[in-house]
């Protein structure tokens, strides 16, 4: 079986890939694995020494948890999520990275505390990805002092550990116009929201890569010349990263997760086979 992958579009936190000859079920497994099983670092435990800001401890802890932390190095350095669930955060340095936030204001001062004020203590590699997230606002003579403990986790337990914000598999359009029926009235080109159908130089031009399968053209055509379907062996995979991992790392790690799950399944099957004596 021949297959290919092409990078259609790529940004710092975004990648769009076109897979040919890869089954939809496999791509959907990659999509789900990247959302739920690829580990990243996120703050899971916060101790407050002082908090006189108008925000409750729980709200601040929640905001800290949702702040993405760099995880490229951390996913190799720290122990896995399953090994760290029952470990005490204050004592373990191979499960937890410590960050600290110490801010206070003087008389008549109002200050916004940003994610860049959250300083790494034990590991300089584990720090907030974005500098300008407003975490807390402090009024005059207020203080926040806290220690935050980050560990590896999976999106299946809490969305803060998910390395992707959106992961989508879409069909690739097959757009056919019957030139024997088409009268070049241009109604399809008028309704197409993406400019996939245009009338150029006395003929109709279909650009399948622009089509989003909305079927507006099929509905608009008075002579029913347009047929719209999708290709059986071509799919797009869109990955938008939270910034914790690069999108290419997310996809590679997702494949690793699927492989290890299949290996575990296979060895379980083999042990059943051995038990039944066959």
């Amino acid at each position: 079986m021949s297959y290919s992958v092409t990078v259609v579009e790529k940004g710092r936190n975004y990648v769009r890939l076109l897979f040919r000859g890869v089954p939809l079920a496999l791509l959907n497994a990659v999509r789900r694995a990247s959302m739920e099983y690829v580990p990243t670092m996120a703050i899971d435990f916060v101790t407050f020494n002082n908090n006189t800001s108008p925000l409750h401890d729980e709200i601040i802890a929640h905001r800290l948890g949702l702040t993405p932390l760099y995880s490229e190095e951390a996913i190799r350095k720290y122990r896995g999520p399953e090994e760290c669930v029952d470990v005490s955060p204050e004592v373990s340095t191979d499960c937890y990275a410590v960050l600290s936030l110490q801010e206070s204001t003087g008389d008549g001062e109002v200050k916004t505390v940003y994610s860049s004020d959250l300083k790494p203590v034990t590991d300089p590699d584990v720090k907030p990805v974005y500098d300008k997230i407003p975490l807390i606002v402090l009024g005059p003579k207020q203080e926040v002092s806290l220690d935050a403990y980050a560990r590896l986790g999976r999106g299946v337990d809490h969305i803060k550990w998910s390395p992707v914000t959106t992961a989508v598999v879409t069909y690739s359009a097959r757009l056919n116009v019957d030139l024997g029926l088409c009268t070049l009235c241009g109604k399809c080109a008028e309704v197409c929201p993406r400019g996939a159908l245009t009338i150029e130089g006395g003929t109709i031009v279909a650009r399948e890569e622009k089509c989003i399968l909305c079927r507006q053209c099929v509905r608009a055509c008075p002579v029913e010349a347009i047929s719209l379907g999708f290709k059986e062996d071509e799919f797009y995979l869109d990955i938008e990263s939270s910034g914790a991992l690069r999108p290419e790392t997310v996809i590679v790690e997702a494949f690793k997760v699927i492989t290890s799950k299949l290996d575990a399944f296979l060895s379980a099957l083999n042990s059943i086979k051995a038990q039944s004596g066959g």
Binding site: S53, L55, T67, V129, K132, P134, V137, G139, T165
Partner: protein, 68 residues
């Protein structure tokens, strides 16, 4: 509505908190909110409504300390 601008979009989970101050700055300089969001790369309407519907109540609440 939240007292302080959310870190992530409620619907899709995209990180939006880091772009809030740039958005406010752009709107205050007289630009159209939709244009500012386009420049910041906020594409989906779930994320866009987070910006245009937010009322930053924390600016007023901050004058009162919480009783501890």
């Amino acid at each position: 509505m939240m007292v302080i601008f959310p870190v992530r979009c409620f619907t899709c989970g995209a990180v939006i908190g880091d772009k809030f101050e740039a958005f406010i700055k752009g709107v205050k300089s007289g630009k159209e909110p939709g244009k500012v969001l386009d420049e910041l790369g906020i594409k989906r309407y779930c994320c866009r409504r987070m910006f245009i519907s937010h009322l930053n109540l924390i600016e007023e609440l901050v004058m009162y300390s919480r009783k501890v």
